[in-house]
Amino acid sequence: MTLARLCGSLLKKYRHGLFAVLTITGLVAPAKAATLTVYAAMGYGARLAHAFSQATGIRVNLVHLSTGPLLARVQAEAARPQWDVLWFDGNLAMREFAHRRILACGWRPAVDYLPQGRALLPPDRCYYPVGVTLAGVVLVNERRLPQKAWPRRWSDLLDRSLRDKVGMDNPAISGPTYPFVAGMMQHLGTAGGKRYFSRLKANGLRVFPRNSATLRALQYGQIDVAVVQSSAALGMAARHPGLRVLAPSPSILLPSDIAIGAGVHGPKLRAARRFVQYVLSPAGQKILLTDKATADSNYEPLLARVHPPAVLAPVAGVHALVLDPAKWGPMEPAIVNWFTAHVTG
């Protein structure tokens, strides 16, 4: 008996047992059940998923990751997506995923968007805006930095008095930071933007992986000024007295978006659409805006009859730039590579 025949007969005889063993040990990726798998970078995702399951009876497997690792997972799984719904801050990455045809397009949830929300809804209906934050605001440690040194304009960060005292996130790792870098390049021109970040680097800019690391550095006194996403800055300032949020003009508008996978069909597609609809419903929005456990609740809603939280006051009225995702999305690899080569090190 040859080895091949022996293996063949053994496999035939024990195929069910083998499959069970492989599935249990995860050697083959488990087949998708009726459960809806949601990849979310939003802190309130778990609470919302629980409420949705209670309201609809549809089970949700919520996978919570930071935006950077989440985007990496989605890219890595592009050939075999293991998610049904995707939800994170940043329409530039969403546009890129739509371009790669991994998002289901064409459907629009039946919700009453405000004009700003309608403007952010893409014409191909591949993803749906949930709310907006600002990609970069300034968080200052009042106890360590005298008021006259507070940076009120972006150019103030280049001042020698702030040498080695400013930190920001790495756009290659932190999802919300690429829109900030791209926004500065839209504001100053690509060459001017590069010159600005190079000068920041020359002034001792410290680049940390993501919001949390930058905020920790501020908390531990390693830096005195942090450039981070507005929701994170507002959340940190609310928890730790002595921190002040400043919003230099212009700020860059950062929509959080939700999307459904292109490979989702049948009952699961219906469940996914119900989930999106629920997120954008008044009941869903109430959950998102009142979750005190996460800074992600500090966003401006885009739906009629949903009111923004009072905590947004320090960043209200700031002039916000809106980036064109079709232009800046495809430029992300080049700009991020430039940033890594010239600023991160």
């Binding site: 008996m1 040990t25 050697l27 985007l71 990496a72 949390s212």
Partner: protein, 569 residues
């Protein structure tokens, strides 16, 4: 008697078809090669080739050196430079401290010297991120030093490059310790006595003593350097948190960020390996040529132990206590104070509920992976022990894999096992494979000595009694090798349960292992949860290790009791 009992199965064996037996033998030869290919060959070759031909595994053939140019420019180059500097500094710091501890342990009569070796082994088993996380908790604004701001400011310096070097040096300290310990054990008193008899000055005698230790010192330095430059856990905690990007972290970020850049990760891996391989090769070259340092022989005499004076003993004790407090005490105290801050004892169930899923998942995977690891390590160790060219080649391959940074293998797995024809990415199975691939070399080394000491006559006697190879392994070799196999298993469980780089890149979404959950707590500034995870993880694994040892002792005692007196005799 035992052999005779087992031989009773001979008639049953005779019924097995010769073809099946032949096929099994062929499979026995082919399966290890397939396993080696799946665990290391295919992913590593596919990944490293990507540096020269980006997109090769995705069906695109566009060779070039663009990824190397990118890796040798700006931030990527800086990360490599940072790694080189901190690894050199850590190894230079670890070398004298490790050698000093080995000298205290082997050459003095100090009463407390027996504690040194267990403490060094504890350091060896303890993951680097526990130390790093401990420093972070120590320097936290609400940490145990909150009432002493000036000490807290001092501790804050541990969160930068100084802390990275110190943590890596402490983690690498066991390597020079073990290397010089072995040298002290085997070095003879004769050369130094001769130097004294010849009236050489004291500095010259010291020079001779150092020259005798040179191969061990170089080996210790090389191992400490390789360990420090390959480290990912300190790079992902203290390094990332202080903005000091190290090469291993840069590799992880290239395959765990937007945009994915496997070619850059592969080029970074090549450059990292180019820093590690020459150091280890140089050490191996020196060890081969260090024949002049051979002192073990028929006239071997160990030197007389040193009896330090009271003040010298006191200084040694103070220095060792300070080191122990720095390496083990401070991180544990910091974690303990934050873990229990504001918590009543009644909160314990809630506390455990929060950390249990990650702990349980890690322990389950660790036990499963360690079992597979030991099952594979045994025949590999036997093959290495057989000598010959194949054995030497296998031994070299195992050493090469041991020197491979875990993050490089993990990045290679992401690329190799996320193709349409290898759809394993995202499942626990791939994580188990990575754990096995990373733990197998060390497990093989642990049992290699015991397997090599097995006398050939056992196998011959078993063959005479009609036992097959498998039956010989089961009935004859397993009882003899049970203890080293168990040690290898336990060591693998502890290593895998704390493993970080492969876990970080390969864990199934929604099921973070212990190390990933701890890292998430670190990055989310959830200090209390970070401290609780750290302490409960360590406590649970210590309890598990003790229980496992107890069960093994009971089982092995029962096994001995059931051996017939004739066999025992």
């Amino acid at each position: 008697m035992l052999l005779a009992d087992a031989g009773a199965d001979h008639t049953a064996n005779a019924r097995i078809l010769p073809g099946v037996r032949r096929a099994a033998w062929r499979a026995g030869a082919v399966l290890p090669a397939l396993a080696a290919c799946a665990l290391w060959g295919w992913p590593l070759i596919g990944f490293l080739v990507t540096a020269f031909v980006p997109g090769l595994l995705h069906g695109r053939f566009a060779p070039g050196i663009g990824s190397f140019l990118q890796a040798l420019h700006g931030g990527a180059l800086q990360a490599l430079r940072n790694s080189l500097v901190v690894a050199l500094a850590a190894a230079l710091l670890a070398l004298p401290v490790g050698s000093w501890l080995a000298w205290l342990c082997m050459r003095t009569t100090l009463a407390w010297r027996g504690w040194i070796e267990p403490a060094v082994w504890l350091l060896l088993v303890m993951p680097g991120y526990f130390l790093a996380s401990g420093w972070m908790l120590l320097a936290a604004p609400e940490g145990p030093l909150a009432h002493w701001p000036w000490i807290q400011d001092l501790a804050g310096h541990l969160l930068g490059p100084a802390g990275i070097i110190l943590t890596l040096a402490i983690k690498a300290l066991p390597y020079p310790f073990l290397a010089t310990q072995a040298a002290f054990l085997s070095s003879s008193a004769a050369p130094l006595e001769a130097a004294r008899v010849l009236g050489l000055p004291r500095w010259r005698q010291r020079q001779i003593a150092m020259a005798l230790l040179l191969p061990a010192l170089v080996a210790g330095f090389a191992a400490a350097f390789a360990e420090s430059i390959s480290d990912f856990s300190v790079a992902a905690t203290l390094g990332a948190g202080s903005g000091t990007v190290l090469a291993t972290y840069a590799i992880e970020q290239a395959v765990n960020a937007m945009p994915l850049n496997f070619a850059l990760a592969a080029a970074d891996s090549w450059l990292l390996l180019m820093l590690i391989v020459p150091v280890l090769s140089g050490q191996a070259w020196l060890a081969r040529r260090a024949t002049g340092h051979r002192s073990l022989g028929p006239r071997f005499r160990p030197p007389a132990p040193v009896r330090p004076q009271f003040t010298t003993s006191l200084m040694h004790a103070l220095a060792a206590s300070l080191l122990a407090a720095l390496a083990l005490g401070a991180p544990l105290v910091a974690a303990g104070s934050l873990a229990l801050a504001g918590r009543a004892p009644s909160d314990l169930p809630n506390l455990l509920r929060a950390v249990m899923p990650s702990l349980r998942y890690s322990l389950e995977l660790a036990m499963l992976s360690a079992s597979v690891t030991v099952t594979l390590a045994w025949p590999i160790a036997a093959a290495v022990a057989r000598r010959g060219r194949a054995g030497r080649l296998l031994d070299f391959a195992l050493l090469a894999v041991m020197a491979l940074p875990g993050i490089v293998l993990a990045a290679a797995y992401v690329l190799a096992y996320n193709q349409s024809y290898t759809p394993l990415y995202g499942g626990s199975g791939l994580l188990i494979m990575a754990y096995v691939a990373l733990a197998l070399p060390a497990a093989t080394k642990v049992i290699q000595g015991s397997v090599a000491r097995l006398h050939d006559r056992f196998a011959e006697a078993a063959r005479v009694h009609g036992l097959s190879r498998l039956q010989t392994m089961w009935h004859v070799e397993l009882p003899i090798l049970a203890r080293p196999l168990f040690s290898a298993w336990l060591l693998s469980v502890l290593h895998i349960a704390f493993e970080l780089p492969a876990s970080e890149l390969l864990y199934p979404p929604g099921h973070p292992p212990l190390s990933v959950a701890l890292l998430d707590s670190v990055s989310a500034i959830r200090l209390h949860q970070q401290a609780r995870l750290q302490l409960s993880g360590m406590a649970l694994l210590v309890v598990f290790a003790l229980l496992a040892r107890l069960v093994f002792s009971r089982l092995s005692a029962r096994q001995v009791a059931t051996i017939p007196p004739a066999v025992a005799a």
